[in-house]
């Protein structure tokens, strides 16, 4: 986990030193393509994992319920905290 953060900070330093290079201002497009590829790889490992696939019907709905609850509970709390503490005047 710390390797990941270390690499990112390395990128930050390089990006900062080379911030005048025009090409680097278009990095967000490249990031998007990399995300697409990573999601493809994630799908690949989910699809190929026979344990997950064969148990998907019996265990999947329980997992989905917990995941959906956790996510929904979090975003609702996020809205409360955002509106109460972080929202700037005149901004949506």
């Amino acid at each position: 986990m710390f390797i990941v953060i270390g690499i990112m900070f390395g990128g930050i330093v390089i990006g900062y030193l080379l911030r005048r290079v025009q090409l680097f201002q278009k990095i967000n497009n490249l990031i998007f393509y990399t995300i697409l590829f990573l999601l493809f790889m994630l799908g690949l490992s989910v699809g190929a994992n026979k344990t997950i696939m064969s148990n998907l019907t019996t265990l999947g709905w329980q997992a989905l319920l917990i995941a959906a609850a956790g996510t929904l509970g979090s975003v609702i709390m996020a809205k409360i905290v955002y509106n109460r503490f972080f929202r700037e005047r005149g901004k949506p």
């Binding site: 990112m8 930050i12 995300i35 956790g70 979090s74």
Partner: protein, 208 residues
């Protein structure tokens, strides 16, 4: 919108090809995804470092940012405790153990399987571990796919709270895209704290 559809398409394509077994085995070794993740983090780093507003972002770190991981925990636990009533097979603390994986599916599923084996027995503990794996994987996928919607209906902090422990690596790029680059350090800060909390909270809920 076109972007989210592309994301769904590529994930579904991966599932389909993975399920069909019609691909070279070497792709699943795990190393490739890891190196691509490293590449992604490097790109994210460059995009932060070359950002002309970097100094303003750094100035925005503030103690009240602790409220965000707190919101993630309270939101997750209260909602998961509520739906545990719909899952008679598992106790509230077992469901909370799954929920406190905070999308960190690899670690939480292994921890739960191991910690629950003495009390539940290996088969049942493995079942709960698989539920933790799928549930936390789904949470990550929901964040990756749903972030544009979360921002629209729940504000800019919503993708961060939804992504939980993944907001400093795998979901960081999508969060910066949807919530704005000025929240990138908030997202990393949040992810680090949540990540750190997973082993403690999972062990805690497994001890009941």
């Amino acid at each position: 919108m076109k972007g989210s559809l592309l994301v769904v398409f590529f994930f579904a394509l991966g599932c389909l090809i993975g399920w069909s077994d019609f691909f070279p085995e070497v792709l699943l070794k795990g190393d490739i995804s890891m190196y691509i993740l490293y590449l992604l983090m490097f790109q994210v780093g460059i995009s932060i470092g070359s950002d002309k507003k970097l100094k303003d972002i750094l100035r925005s770190i503030h103690p009240k940012l602790l409220l965000i991981p707190l919101a993630t925990m309270i939101g997750t636990f209260s909602a998961v405790a509520l739906v545990s009533l719909l899952l008679p097979k598992w106790s509230i603390s077992e469901c909370l153990a799954v929920g406190s994986g905070f999308a960190y599916y690899s670690l939480s599923s292994i921890l739960i399987t191991q910690l629950k084996t003495p009390t539940l027995g290996l088969p049942i503990a493995t079942e709960l571990g698989i539920i933790a794996l799928i549930a936390n994987l789904i949470r990550e996928i929901m964040t990756l796919l749903g972030s544009p919607l979360f921002v629209k209906y729940f504000g800019r902090l919503a993708p961060i709270c939804a992504g939980a422990a993944t907001t400093m690596d795998t979901t960081l790029p999508i969060i910066t895209r949807c919530s704005g680059k000025d929240l990138v350090f908030v997202s990393i800060f949040h992810g680090m704290l949540m990540d750190f909390s997973v082993p403690f909270l999972v062990s805690f809920f497994c001890s009941f």
